[in-house]
């Protein structure tokens, strides 16, 4: 049940027809929107904070190469080993190599979209290494053999009954229950064993602070702390855009992230990691080694374009999907990409190329809700329109976007070309519109994608040109009659 972005239309259709999916997403989205609204009582405060966060991210992006070097320098000084990967393949090789270097057999992972993006679990699995997801939502999704359907709440597509059934089937000795406390406790017990036994822990990164060489992790459950504290090696995986300049940039970003994501003024844990065990003093626990893997994987492509660069400001809060009328109805899996919803629609074309993703930018009514709630003010609808244009570019137009022009259809191009030709020649235009008006009774019979769900628009029996001509002669007569009185 691996969905793909190329099958977007079919997947969206299937999701729309599934009442359980519809209900699960509707309920979850209403909940998350309500929570968010509760912690942003004043629009003015949100706007001020948003402007500040936008500036922080924008400046960090403008200085990205320098900040990345500074981050590496300061991490290295702190004892964190930094690795660079241009592609998903390279990132996986680095991580796999690190695990081998330590004869690692038990790998535990905290929630990380970057490792979903590079499909680390599959890569390690193919090499006989088990990588256990430890975030409750991710654990559920992994147990079900699925992928996350939301970047903040991975198992949002499942309800308690489905999860109860899953645990009953997949976890030895567990009876069916829908009691959430019991279910969470089952997960807790299972995973504690794993934390204790693990030799490698893998996490993502929310913010990487260049000034101090600090990796910040935001979470509620404590699994991120477990994974980065108990195993003797911690590997943090991050996109290159997560770097920020200074520690003082974290409070506004943290506040916006947790409020936008789950409607909390702060999460239970905000973990700032600036080095392995005992780097500076004789600590008795914590990982003996900390590694940071910095991933490009298409980000430099987005970076190269002034407008697309804004895509990289994203702090992955998920608010855009929670407020998207399309996401709310079709859910996360229909997109077939790791990042679903509006952010997925604008980032995936850079990660995967437009050939595979050119349906995604079209899955939007451009209502603007995503842009309105985005804590870093990413102009998502504009970027979607720009991507639509990119995917329809002609072969001759050169552009830095992989797969540009891939949605271009010869027929569509021909139609537009002919339309333009006719519009520039009044006589031709007149002939065409008259023919269309005459063919009126036949047009209803033609099957087009348009009339699948809509009534076929019927051309008027007389063209505007004809009507006006008629009126011109007619009104002259009536005008004359008036004049006689």
């Amino acid at each position: 049940m691996h969905s793909t972005p190329t099958a977007f239309k079919a997947q969206a259709k299937a999701a729309l027809a599934d009442p359980v999916i519809r209900q699960n997403f509707r309920g979850a989205m209403d909940f998350l929107r309500g929570k968010r609204q509760g912690v942003f009582p004043e629009q003015a405060e949100f706007k001020a904070l948003q402007a500040c966060a936008e500036t922080i991210k924008q400046q960090a992006l403008d200085d990205l190469p320098q900040l990345l070097e500074l981050l590496e320098q300061n991490c290295t000084r702190n004892g964190i080993q930094v690795h660079w990967a241009e592609s998903a393949q390279e990132a996986n090789e680095i991580i796999d190599g690190l695990i081998d270097q330590h004869d690692g057999t038990q790998v535990v992972k905290g929630k990380s979209m970057a490792t979903e993006e590079i499909e680390l679990n599959d890569y390690l699995g193919a090499r006989g290494k088990d990588c256990i997801e430890t975030d409750m939502g991710e654990y559920i999704v992994q147990l079900a053999g699925e992928h996350p359907s939301h970047i903040i709440m991975p198992a949002i597509h499942k309800n308690a009954e489905e999860i109860g059934q899953l645990f009953h089937e997949k976890v030895a000795g567990v009876d069916y229950t829908t009691d959430v406390d019991t279910l969470i406790n089952i997960g807790r017990t299972q995973l504690r064993e794993r934390f204790m036994a693990a030799d490698i822990g893998i996490t993502g990164v929310n913010f990487a602070v260049a000034e101090t060489g600090t990796l910040c992790l935001v979470e509620n459950e404590g699994n991120g702390r477990m994974v980065s504290t108990v195993p003797s090696v911690h590997i943090a995986v991050s996109g290159i855009e997560k770097v920020i300049a200074s520690l003082q940039d974290t409070p506004p970003l943290l506040s916006l992230l947790t409020r936008s994501a789950t409607g909390q003024i702060i999460t239970t844990y905000f973990n700032m990691i600036s080095g392995p065990r005992g780097y500076g003093e004789a600590e008795r626990d914590g990982p003996k080694e900390v590694h940071l893997v910095l991933i490009d994987n298409g980000r430099t492509q987005a970076y190269a374009d002034e407008q697309f660069r804004k895509t990289l400001s994203c702090i992955r809060c998920g608010a855009c999907m929670n407020h998207c009328p399309v996401y709310t109805r079709i859910g996360g899996h229909a997109y077939g990409t790791v990042y679903p919803g509006p952010i997925g629609q604008i980032i995936s074309p850079h990660l995967l190329g437009l050939e595979q993703t050119n349906d995604l930018p079209t899955a939007s009514s451009l209502c603007g809700a995503c842009e309105e709630v985005c804590p870093v003010n990413i102009p998502i609808p504009n970027l979607l329109q720009r991507l639509r244009r990119q995917s329809n570019l002609g072969r001759e137009a050169s552009t830095g976007i992989r797969g540009a022009g891939s949605a271009r259809s010869g027929l569509e191009a021909l139609v537009w070309k002919s339309w333009r030709w006719a519009c520039c020649r009044p006589w031709a235009y007149g002939v065409v519109t008259r023919v269309v008006a005459l063919a009126r009774p036949l047009l209803g019979l033609v099957k087009t994608p348009w009339n699948k769900g809509r009534a076929t628009p019927r051309p008027a029996p007389k063209t505007l040109n004809q009507l006006l001509k008629h009126r011109a002669t007619g009104s002259n007569r009536t005008g004359g009659a008036h004049g006689n009185h």
Binding site: L68, M272, T300, A304
Partner: protein, 213 residues
Amino acid sequence: MATTKAKAAILNKLRAASSGAVDAAPVSAAPAVPTLVDPLEHFVSLLKANHAQVIQCETARLQTVVTDVLREQGATRVIAAERVLAEFPELTQVAEPLPPGTMEDWKEQLFNEVEVGITSAHCALAATGTLVLRPGADEPRSLSLVPPCHILLLREQTLYNDLTHAMVDQRWAEQMPTNMLLVSGPSKTADIQQTLAYGAHGPRTLVVIILPQ
């Protein structure tokens, strides 16, 4: 080395692009977090709303208060950070220090036997109801994480208005410790049908004891 090559390639691409200078972003400073009228009250009410137990007590009564909490928890194996035992020697009556050695030596005990961990709070943040922990040689990171119940001792005078205040006043950026942690309640999750459940992976119970000056 593949990673050196990757680094050069990534930085070159970024440099080539960033030279096409974008307009400098307008500078807008972070809006200040409003100064609270009664920070302590705000702090306590937020912590309670987040399901933490909060007790304010005189230092002289600390041992009694801790004993009560332990009785309530039915705890038999209690470990306090050395930092805590050094500051409040009376707690050796109710809590023991960690066994000698490093985590590898006592990991199984910590996971399977220890019911309560007692640590100190470095400072606290009123605006979000947050405790700042600064683990180190005399207070392991895992003691506030692995045992199902976590008791935190906080000196009232270390309460700051918010995170920015604390990090500026204490000049964190000059020297970050290997680990610094903000805690704002017991571990929790809403991953199953948006239903809140406590004790996901970290402590189920968080008890904050606030001591006066």
